[in-house]
């Protein structure tokens, strides 16, 4: 059973349409979504191979916290609590501008909006940038 599932490439903010090729419940390939208005049946090398990371052994599926030289799997609740604590600590000790936020071109506009909101309204710094400028 093979089907072609239209979706949007997750690699960058361009938003190209792709068809994920799904065989017996697993993604086996990707190709351009022919009539998508953004990419019009074309893709870059990342888009053509966007399916490769889905089942990659290096893919992170759970939050990890560093303990000494190794990482430990923790729950989302635990991980977020730790991040909040550390950010609060840095802000209290060295001021809001001691913290910077790096957003991602792989997230949606809305997620990036929320990140700058967190940075400006919660922490109180304008130190916001994104990976596409690094």
């Amino acid at each position: 059973m093979i089907s072609f599932v239209p979706t949007i490439c997750t690699y960058c903010g361009t938003g190209c349409g792709i068809l994920l090729i799904v065989k017996d419940g697993s993604v086996v390939g990707a190709r351009p979504w022919p009539e998508h208005p953004i990419n019009q049946d074309k893709l870059c090398i990342k888009g053509w191979n966007v399916d490769e990371f889905i089942y990659h052994e290096d893919r992170l599926k759970k939050p990890l916290v560093k303990e000494g030289d190794s990482f430990k799997e923790v729950s989302w609740e635990e991980a977020l609590k730790l991040v909040a604590e550390k950010l609060g600590e840095a802000k209290d000790k060295s001021g809001p501008d001691s913290v910077a936020f790096l957003a991602s071109a792989r997230c949606t506009n809305e997620e990036n909006y929320l990140l700058q909101k967190l940075s400006r309204a919660v922490i109180g710094t304008n130190n916001v940038d994104h990976c596409a400028r690094l």
């Binding site: 068809l19 390939g29 351009p32 979504w33 022919p34 990419n39 049946d41 074309k42």
Partner: protein, 344 residues
């Protein structure tokens, strides 16, 4: 208007119902979407999604070779270029033609894109857009189609002709084709074959125009032209990924395969010249490489032009006879001597 699709849907449905095939590969529209996508159909009721619109965004032969099951009885609804690609893939042991039942649509060209998701049918001298008949606008057709001289899928089991005003005629070309038509309870239409002189004339005119302007150049100038085109390449590998003749699962152009170091990119000139050497002798002019190119390199023109040079030289027509092997694998020393090549 819907009659065009109805007959082909009836054929697909009856192939599945009669158990002739387990799966049919065709282009279709999901009721929830206007987009035309490749479909692998297993349920007879899904046959109503199949469309015969003159728009053909990728090679189904390539998809079947990559993702299909060689042991599964498979039906396919193909354009002539794709049917030829299927024959070429069979020569290269990538598909098992014994298990494939093919229904070919006579094709006078497909449109580059469907602005406004129109329902478009192209005929030799005119076209029908959303039920309205218009004179043929050559600018709307894909460049490869304008150069195409093979509108009739003689190599498929059943060939299928759409005519203006919704007329459809169907012909069985093989024993398997007769099985398909008897399953669908359709009788083969005995009629005059399509007059393809207008298509031949158009192909000759466009080949003259497209290749002529290149052949006018001095060899050095022509090389410079192509090298400057290759300079635009961003190495998306889209041409290779869309090409139905490019079949190697372990491609020579991938890094770490002797030619290119691991994690390196191939130099642009080498990339295209390697691909040209591998597929140039068997190009079926489907135009998928050029359609996939984000940089607008006229790659299909290059492959088609080389094919047209090699074809008479080696007396080889790609995509028709299963027993005639591509020149690259069947060439002998004396053939090379004939062409003026000096052997060591």
């Amino acid at each position: 208007m819907k009659n065009y699709n109805k007959v082909i849907q009836d054929i697909v449905r009856s192939m599945l119902e009669a158990g002739l095939v387990e799966e049919v590969v065709a282009f279709g529209q999901d009721p929830a979407s206007v987009d035309i996508l490749p479909l692998f159909i297993t349920e007879p009721q899904d046959a109503e999604k199949v469309v015969a619109i003159s728009y053909y965004p990728c090679s189904l032969a390539k998809l079947v070779a990559l993702y299909g099951d060689k042991d599964k009885k498979t039906g396919m609804v193909l354009r002539p270029c794709d049917a030829r690609a299927l024959v070429e893939l069979a020569k290269r042991q990538q598909v098992n033609l014994e298990n494939i039942y093919t229904v070919g649509i006579e094709c006078y060209g497909v449109v580059k894109d469907r602005a406004g998701n129109n329902e478009i049918y192209v005929f030799p001298g005119d076209m029908e857009i959303d039920g309205e008949s218009k004179p043929l606008d050559e600018d709307m057709l894909a460049p490869g189609c304008l150069r195409c001289e093979y509108p009739i899928p003689t190599m498929t089991d059943v060939s299928f002709r759409l005519e203006p005003k919704g007329e459809v005629s169907v012909t069985a070309n093989t024993e398997k084709g007769k099985e398909i038509l008897s399953a669908a309870k359709i009788s083969s239409t005995e009629g005059s074959p399509t007059d393809i002189s207008a298509i031949k004339e158009r192909a000759a005119r466009w080949q003259e125009q497209d290749f002529g302007e290149l052949m006018k150049m001095e060899p050095g100038e022509r090389l410079k032209y192509w090298l400057s085109q290759f300079d635009k390449c961003i190495k998306c590998y889209g041409c290779r990924n869309s090409c139905p003749i490019c079949y190697c699962s372990d491609c020579y152009l991938e890094p770490g395969r002797m030619l290119i170091e691991g994690e390196e990119m191939p130099p642009e000139k080498l990339f295209h010249i390697t691909r040209l050497m591998h597929v140039g002798d068997s190009c079926v002019n489907c135009g998928q490489c050029e359609a996939a190119c984000p940089m607008g390199i006229p790659v299909s023109k290059l492959y088609h032009m080389l094919y047209k040079e090699l074809s008479p030289l080696f007396d080889y027509e790609a995509g028709f006879d299963l027993d005639s092997l591509p020149p690259v694998s069947s060439i002998r020393d004396e053939d090379l001597l004939k062409t003026g090549v000096e052997l060591d």
